[in-house]
Amino acid sequence: MVKVLRTGVYICEAGTGAAGSVDLRMLAEYARELPSVVKVVECECPNPDPVSVGEQIRKDNFDRVVIAADSPGYFKPAFARAMSLAGKSPENVVLASFVGNGAGASGSTERAKAVICCAVSGVPFGLAASQRKKSVHPDTLVIGGGVGGIQAALEIAGAGKKVYMVEKLGTIGGKMAMFDKTFPTLDCSACILTPKMVSVGQNKNITLWTYAEVEGVSGSAGNYTVTVRKRARRVDEAACVSCNACSKTCPGEAPSEFDAGICMRKAIYIPFPQAVPNSFLIDEKACLWVTSGGQKCGTCVKKCAKEAIHLNARDEIVEITVGNIIVATGFQVFDAVKMERYGYGRLPNVITALEYERLTNASGPTGGNIVMKSLKYNKRKKVDEWVFGPDNPKPKNVAIIHCIGSRDHNHNRYCSRVCCMYSLKFAHLVREKLPDANCYEFYIDMRAYGKNYEEFLERVHEEGVHLVRGRTAKVEEADGQMRLKGEDIIGGKVLDFPVDLVILSVGLEPVPESEQLASLLGIARDEDGWYAEKDYNADPTGTERGGIYLAGVCQGPKDIPDTVAQASEVAARVIRSILSDQMQDSRNTLSLADIEDGLRRQE
């Protein structure tokens, strides 16, 4: 016969930030009724003293202690010490973590009760909180056509299963397609990505809808009905041969999204030459025909020998049924205008990381020459504009400033994880392409944590890049010369020196649509706006909702290998569910009674 362990439950109020919605009083009442619980202690101290807690344990003769809190791990060592001081086994300190087990959101008191219940029974929450199995529709929807989405779609299609891929823009490829080189190997982004893009386009198991958006989701795990709006490209994808005849005469212009806005594209355009689908589309905001209500222009139609252009095409709404949904919506970069002191948007030669990627990319508007902007007369608008040109003067001093919008409580608190390394890559490219230029990196912590990253850091350092610890404070212009002010912490100086080109290593942010999509899908977002995973350690790509998974940066900043690994992971889970034709239902539908049931089954 197993000895009943006298259990003391400590409900700690301190640090109950996110779970402020948990009713601690009700929780205490509930806990008191649980078997083997001899006492519930409500503990307010943020730093309980092990000695006094130990005395209490000895007094009450607890054999086991359950710490229930938002993040009870903060108190665990104190309790372990208290147990050992009281002569009890420190092994018997059990954590009941609200946040770790999904009791951070609303309706959390019930969940918190379940968490305590599991902890008191000594059963991991994940085991008890298992859901009913449901059968699975074999098709899958992938939202987002960046490298994460591509990887996931190809893996699933490789298993012979049908995949729908919905991409917001006119081409798949995402941000990675814009990059020049990838760190730390410096291999060319296009070389490794475009073959995958082409495979997506050619795979018969993948239905690719670009320029499309998810408009509605209904149903439940294993069987979701999704409404997709296929926005009118106005150019027939199948017929277009990307001959470029149409865009030559097109009068409409807009900043090129693919070139991060550093040059213009036409209203009828192909995002980039290797776009998949390799077809033009019309930007209705810039198209004269559309904006004039069909009154003006329309020259492109005449130019198209394949008669592929249908200016009056309409959006199409399609409805599909899928068993699994993979969210791989990626990120947008921080809007550097918000940090006024760096002068982005005001000073022409302060540019963001993505702009630099295009600037240094051989297929970018300057053919890969790193140059400064110069004033050029725009005939159409009849104004002087600051633009990049392949033959513009080259900068002599280039400053790269890390952590723009990241690690900053005024903006995004989190670290964007990739900026240090991409900044080092930028510096390397500066040194490589402009051997005479000085290149400065201003950083706070150099986060070179991945495989071969540290080696890359040292290589860049050896190449003569000045690594300056200290994020700079401001960029100012006087007499046509930009000056940068910052502290060189290790050198013990305040710097004030001339720079010609400033690259802001902007952080990663959730895409603006993420809020809407989260509510469509019924999944949670964390306080920074990233989609919330089900369990940080155990289930970094799952959501509380069954059959909906996260891949890549939409769950939190990530570099390419980590994104790809996650994408393969979710693909694995999708294939698994289809193969076994069963999947767990959404966890957020579990009631306390369900979990108590589950506990009984475990025992």
């Binding site: 005024n410 350092h461 000045h466 200290g470 700079t472 401001k474 912490i489």
Partner: protein, 387 residues
Amino acid sequence: MAVRANPNLLKQLKRYGADDVTKCFHCGTCSATCPLSQEPFLFPRKSMRYLQMGLGDRLKGNLEPWLCYYCGDCSDQCPREAQPGETMMSMRRWLTAKYDFTGLSMLFYESRTAEVAAIIVVGILSGIGFYLLGALSGGDFGSYPGFIPGHNAEYLTELGWDVKSVVLVMAVFVLGLLGINVLRMWWFTTGSRKDLNVPFDIYMKHILLCPWHFFTQKRYSECDKKKPWVVHIILMLGFVALFAVFLAHMIWQDDTHAHTYLGPLAGVMLVGASSFALSGRLNKTEAHYKYSHHSDMNFLYMCLFVGLTGLAQHIAGRIGCGAFANFMYILHMMGAVPMLLIQLPFTKWAHLVYRPHAMYFAAIQADVIAGREGAKGASAVPHKQSA
């Protein structure tokens, strides 16, 4: 020379208001943002570093906290909400306590009760004193300004008391205290530093900086934000004006001009500036008003109190409410004396002495260092780390 890290300094400084300093992760934004932070005095980051690590000696010999006027830009821009501006403020409080050899300053700063109690005790004592002074000199509590000592000086002289000598005793006491503390400050920051070895002529060269900074607060005006400077200078000029009124009253016995015009003006300045600052602090309107130590609040309350009672005394006197004017006068003195005896030498107000001296010493140090290092380029380029 190696220095020893000390965990207690941080604990101590927390009592002076440095609550957030551990949040700082040293990105350098603050030092570079600050227009006042120039070589060889780079702050606030480095001072914060000393504080985090508990390098008390480094901090004690540090002039940098005084070079900061707390415009709050650094706190606004700090990515970690480590409140560098407030930390500098705390360090000024701590330094004031350190300079004070009596230990009273430390007591007042570390204990709100102690400061309040001291103010109340001195206030009550001085209230009783001034009442007695007025009453004993035969002043009629209903007549104004007749009740006020000095308006019937003859009687006092007969008593063997001279108001001037009372004032003189007080002044010697306060100035003596401050003088000793300034000397201590000099010793901590400049005198004891063997590496400096300042020649006498450099001391003379910059001596005028002290009054210059005292009166103009020129340096405050160099902050990017100008409003705090304006508020501060109004407050400061209010005190100067009051002091002028006082001097005029005491030395030249000229009551009419000073009292009629300058007094009310000073009162209005004082009341205006201090109530602006107080409301700012209560509503936490600006970065430098977000965090208030009890010494800040006490000082502002006292300023407001002294200003308001002074004004009330004046107006009441004008409209002929003599008793009320005299009552206000007593209250006024109950505020003014503790300010002079407690806050001026020991707490918040002491900065009026330390800050100009800090500018002075800083100029001396900068001069010495610049002279030693020769013509070092002004616009520094980042140094290169060892690979």
